[in-house]
């Protein structure tokens, strides 16, 4: 990783809106292997919806099995009238509004589940370039947000700061109590951009700074 440590000092002050500097190792992004692996590693796993659906399905099937066995033995656990187990189903036509709305709801839930499964989802981490192909490095989005906000708050003149990490950019919202804010925005931008360059994300993130003045 000797070529890896791109020095933060390499970056000069960016013209606002100018293109972000490309760290040397971001070349890895142009190769599909590391890119695909990195994307996969931090893609949402959809465990929560999966576990929920599995639990509901298991519970329903267990209850159904218990009811069916008890009915087979002649003593249904939940006393559905034995002769017409189907109860109101025998008087509801296929074209009834109840049927249609229930069927539509079921189909809709099915569609939602398919979409949850198929949509890749927003990666939980920002992937950093790594010197080694077998290593995938990522900073969790929340952690990056917090650390960049702390960093911005350390800039002289900044009262408070919040950061948001998007797909291609990081937005820092800073407040200041200074009357003369000349150069402050650029300072924050440079500080944050330097840190990002040192982290060396696999695909470059551009920094936007919004500065607001606060009275008091």
């Amino acid at each position: 990783m000797s070529d890896a440590a791109s020095r933060p000092g390499d970056t000069s002050v960016l013209p606002p809106g100018g293109g972000p500097p490309r760290p040397a190792r971001a070349d890895a992004w142009s190769r599909s292997g590391p890119r695909r692996r990195a994307r996969r590693a931090f893609r949402p796993r959809r465990t929560i919806p999966g576990v929920l659906v599995a639990a509901v399905l298991a519970a329903a099937a267990i209850l159904g099995a218990i009811q069916a066995v008890s009915a087979a033995l002649g003593h249904p656990l939940w006393t559905v009238p034995h002769r017409d187990f189907a109860g109101p189903l025998q008087t509801t036509p296929w074209s009834g509004t109840g049927t249609i709305s229930v069927a539509a709801a079921v189909a809709f839930i099915g569609l939602v589940l398919i979409l949850i499964a198929v949509i890749p989802g927003r990666p939980r981490a920002i992937v950093l370039a790594s010197g080694d192909d077998s290593v995938v490095v990522g900073v969790t989005r929340r952690s990056l947000r917090r650390s960049l906000a702390w960093l911005a708050e350390d800039v002289a003149g900044v009262h408070s700061a919040k950061a948001k990490a998007g797909r291609r950019s990081v937005t820092v919202r800073a407040t200041t109590r200074l009357v003369d804010t000349a150069g402050l925005r650029e300072n924050v931008q440079t500080t944050v951009q330097d840190r990002l360059t040192a982290l060396d994300p696999l695909w470059p993130l551009r920094v936007k700074v919004r500065l607001r003045r606060r009275e008091g």
Binding site: A5, Q90, W94, A103, G110, L144, D154
Partner: protein, 193 residues
């Protein structure tokens, strides 16, 4: 690695989603008279009198329902277990040569060693390591919390050029697919910097 559980979750969701979508869609199609010749009249009740009386005359129906429910329940429980399992490797075969005698390494010895090594680095607050997947070709999941220092490259260089190669040597492997999750905590010397 845990990509496996992602696969299991997503595949299961697609299957259940398809069943619900197709089932709901078929009922809707009959309700809205999409194809009466195939699906039947939309004015008929959901369950005819004849169908309602069927289980009372045929005792096996309830048993069949019970068996189907049991199979579904087992599949659902298996799916549940496959999603929640972390697939952590506990024992690693080092010397696969059965004739000479097999050498097995406890995985937590290896992961504990790399976690300790990482935590010995000044700006790394805490580290957590786990080997996952198959014992023959395990993957490493590293979770490292580093201090929010101006130059995070040092900690990363240490991980990639020192700690990981040591683990590879210890496990006698050329590569170990690694996922490193980096987090930052507030630095102690934040106001001194």
């Amino acid at each position: 690695m845990t990509r496996h559980t992602a696969h299991v979750s997503r595949t299961g969701l697609v299957i259940i989603g398809l069943i619900l979508l197709l089932g709901g869609g078929a009922v809707l199609a009959r309700s809205l008279r999409a194809a009466p010749s195939v699906l039947g009249s939309s004015h008929a009740p959901l369950v005819t009198h004849q169908q309602a009386g069927y289980p009372a005359q045929n005792g096996w129906v309830w048993w069949a329902v019970a068996a189907a429910c049991a199979i579904i329940a087992l599949l659902a429980l298996w799916w549940l277990a496959a999603q929640t399992g972390t697939r952590t490797v506990r024992r690693l075969p080092l010397e696969p040569d059965r004739i000479q005698g097999a050498t097995v390494l406890r995985a937590d010895a290896a992961t504990g060693a790399i976690a300790d090594e990482l935590e010995s680095y000044p700006s790394i607050r805490s580290a957590d390591a786990a080997l996952q997947g198959s014992p023959r070709a395990p993957g490493l999941r590293l979770s490292v919390t580093a201090e929010n220092r101006p130059d995070p490259a040092g900690a990363r260089a240490f991980i990639e050029t020192e700690a990981l190669p040591h683990l590879r040597t210890a496990l006698e492997r050329d590569t170990i697919p690694t996922v490193l999750r980096l987090q930052f905590s507030r630095a102690f010397d934040r106001h001194l910097a």
